[in-house]
Subunit: 165 residues, 2 copies
């Protein structure tokens, strides 16, 4: 959900979260650590990620080129070794999946580390109509759909957007 | 030999080659293709390499940090996919290993592609004394030991140094 394919059919909306909803207690988060090893001027990015004990190294093409994404599984030793090279280019967070009714799920990300205090939520919809009809729950704040400052890469490199600091 | 560890004990000298020695005919080259996916401002580099049918993805730390190097084997399909992302950041060459006598071996690199016409040679020595006593054969030209413009990364990104163009 973090990196929808530009050619994909995913319909998603993303919001800043103003307060943690009480139901988060019933849905413990899964820790996600993502660090960027290097990003080329043409947008090729190389990152490592660990989620639920599974670690990967991913190479992605930049925007505007034929889309390429190669994901290599790596073991814990390699992850630790490579993670050390991502200092200053990291995002870490806990992801909580909360049912919203109507078959919708909120992916609520509680950032820590350099982005401590940032809370965002993404919701995927089955159709454009469902997306438009969505009535956000009271803990959902400003919409940031399509705002690249909230993408993982931008958060990792540029830090938390000042508007929410 | 291309990337001696700064902490290693390798004693190497590197020269530009002015003309191909005749004995190269007896020592067919092994093709080396190396492309950079991305390089971070702190020097972390991610490259793919294929030599003698073996392909690897390597992540190296930048200078000045605790030295880290992780090499992952990748299959041909992945190599081809990732190679496509290195356009404009490549070095390809044939490496010929020529015996020089005294147990020394010349690693003679014949570049092609964007560096067509560039010829370099590296020789590793067993001791500082052997390095100092080395009498280069007549086809060996100007010494470029320690000249970073002749390192793979610099050749790939900045192209052939103008002095030899």
């Amino acid at each position: 959900m973090d990196d929808p394919s530009p050619r994909g059919v995913e319909i998603e909306r993303k919001f800043v979260v103003t307060a943690l909803p009480p139901e988060i207690a019933e849905h413990p988060g899964q820790r996600i650590e993502q660090g960027y090893l290097a990003i080329a001027p043409d947008g090729v990015e190389v990152r490592v990620r660990r989620r639920a004990g599974e670690a990967t190294l991913t190479v992605k093409s930049g925007p505007g080129l034929v889309r390429t994404e190669e994901e290599l599984e790596i073991d814990e030793r390699r992850f630790d070794s490579l993670w050390a090279l991502t200092e200053g280019r990291r995002v870490s967070k806990a992801r909580h999946e909360l049912p919203l009714g109507d078959g919708l799920t909120a992916e609520l990300d509680v950032y820590d580390g350099a982005h401590d205090g940032l809370l965002t939520v993404e919701i995927e919809f089955p159709s454009p109509e469902a997306s438009e009809a969505f009535a956000p729950p009271p803990w959902v704040g400003r919409e940031v759909t399509g705002d690249k400052r909230y993408a993982n890469q931008s958060l990792a490199l540029a830090g938390r957007p000042p508007a929410d600091a």
